[in-house]
Symmetry: C2
Subunit: 257 residues, 2 copies
């Protein structure tokens, strides 16, 4: 029986600036079940406020406490360890780190910097790493579906570049980190085994959620999904469904509420 | 007994624009032995002509046939397979590919593009790869010693990024490809087991040469060398020496000529 629902955003609820057909209506039906919802997004090109505003523009209301982002997890990590961030992130995400001071020891924080990824910025981050800075990856996704409909390079590619050159391994803060999924469920009084995850990334969303102990993970055929993704990573999805509307049917038929 | 000598350039003969102390004099002594010399450089920020001119400026005369570069190996590959190059290389290297037409099928060629590595150019290369283009890496070096004396990101980091995101593996044309070492020895009537390699990269120069069957590989403590490099990769160097002058002593005492 399902007692909580975790949803990815980009590729599940919207693509670029448009709603994926039927997503807002499906969200309404999910809300109607009374099941608690959490949004677990690895998108790091926008601030939390921008994500919430974008969803509102699509007719989807999301409370601040319902949105779990890697940047928030990173800020928590930096405060706990007393590290000063060396940011290699999108300019629109920098605001999330504005209150973090830290000490003299640094941590390199890598997000999806987009056009801000260039040789000079990558080399500065690399030099911090070999000088001993900690290494935080907001995500390790390989690709995302870009506004033009084609796949584009995501954070994971640049994390892999820094990892290869420095010989250092990152602490991963977003999906597929088990802590990220568990943290999203915190306060819901729902063990991971009673939660379901819905995403378009067979590796980070689906295999990641199942490795984190979630009871089920659904792969949708929207967003970055490409034929064959369901067999590419281990564990395989609990089910593959057309879109969020079909995922909602699947969830409602198994809901504890 | 040694019958041929392969030398790396950057970090062995010169650093940035200056000779490494004693390198030109050591080269003179090596020339005096009569052993054939070949220069096997993974540097892909300069054209062949620029490399030869730079060496001449340091008082070191090198014949065209003595210089083996990944770009030359790539051109050979492109012609053999009839592929049109999609270049992700330094602007100064593009001239090396000017005569290559190829057919409609493409091959992405990745070199040390330096400042020309940016999100847009990497993403274009990534999209060619997932659309089916072949994948050629001029080198896979992790780092090089930059003009300011610090390590900087080398080609391998960007190859790793593209490999991670695309799921494709490159054909490696420079060191440590065994074909690259063997090709440098072509026409010398010297089996690999009778040749020695001298380099500052414990992985690409030294372990690579030994895996290619060379009889010996010397690691110099100049260039990018950092304490402990000699134990980091397998196979370990035949010997670790201070610089090219010390490597020359080692070679002369074992020369067949």
């Amino acid at each position: 029986m399902i007692r909580a629902v975790l949803l990815d955003l980009l590729g599940v609820v919207y693509d670029g600036d448009v709603q994926i057909a039927g997503a807002a209506a499906a969200m309404e039906r999910l809300r109607g079940t009374g099941l608690p919802l959490r949004f677990v997004s690895n998108t790091t090109r926008s601030s939390r406020d921008a994500i919430i505003a974008q969803l509102a523009g699509l007719g989807i209301e999301v409370e601040d406490e319902e949105l779990q982002t890697p940047a928030r997890a990173a800020v928590k990590w930096l405060r706990k360890h007393g590290r000063r961030p060396h940011l290699l992130v999108h300019p629109d995400l920098e605001v999330e780190f504005s209150g973090v001071e830290g000490g003299s020891d640094k941590a390199v924080v890598v997000g999806d910097a987009g056009e801000a990824f260039d040789y000079a910025s990558l080399n500065r981050a690399f030099r911090e790493l070999i000088a001993g800075a900690d290494f935080l990856a907001l995500a390790t996704n390989r690709t995302f579906k870009d506004a033009d409909g084609l796949l584009s390079l995501d954070t994971g590619a640049f994390v892999a570049a820094l990892e290869f050159a420095s010989g250092r391994s990152p602490v991963v803060l977003g999906k597929p980190s088990p802590e990220f999924f568990h943290s999203a469920l915190a306060g819901l009084n729902c063990p991971p085994a009673d939660a379901v995850m819905v995403g378009d990334d067979a590796e980070s969303d689906v295999a990641g959620a199942l490795r984190a102990g979630l009871g089920a993970a659904l792969l949708v055929r929207t967003g970055k999904y490409r034929a064959g993704d369901e067999t590419r990573f281990d564990p395989a999805p609990t089910a593959v469904v057309d879109d969020l509307a079909a995922a909602t049917d699947w969830i409602i038929s198994r809901a504890a509420a």
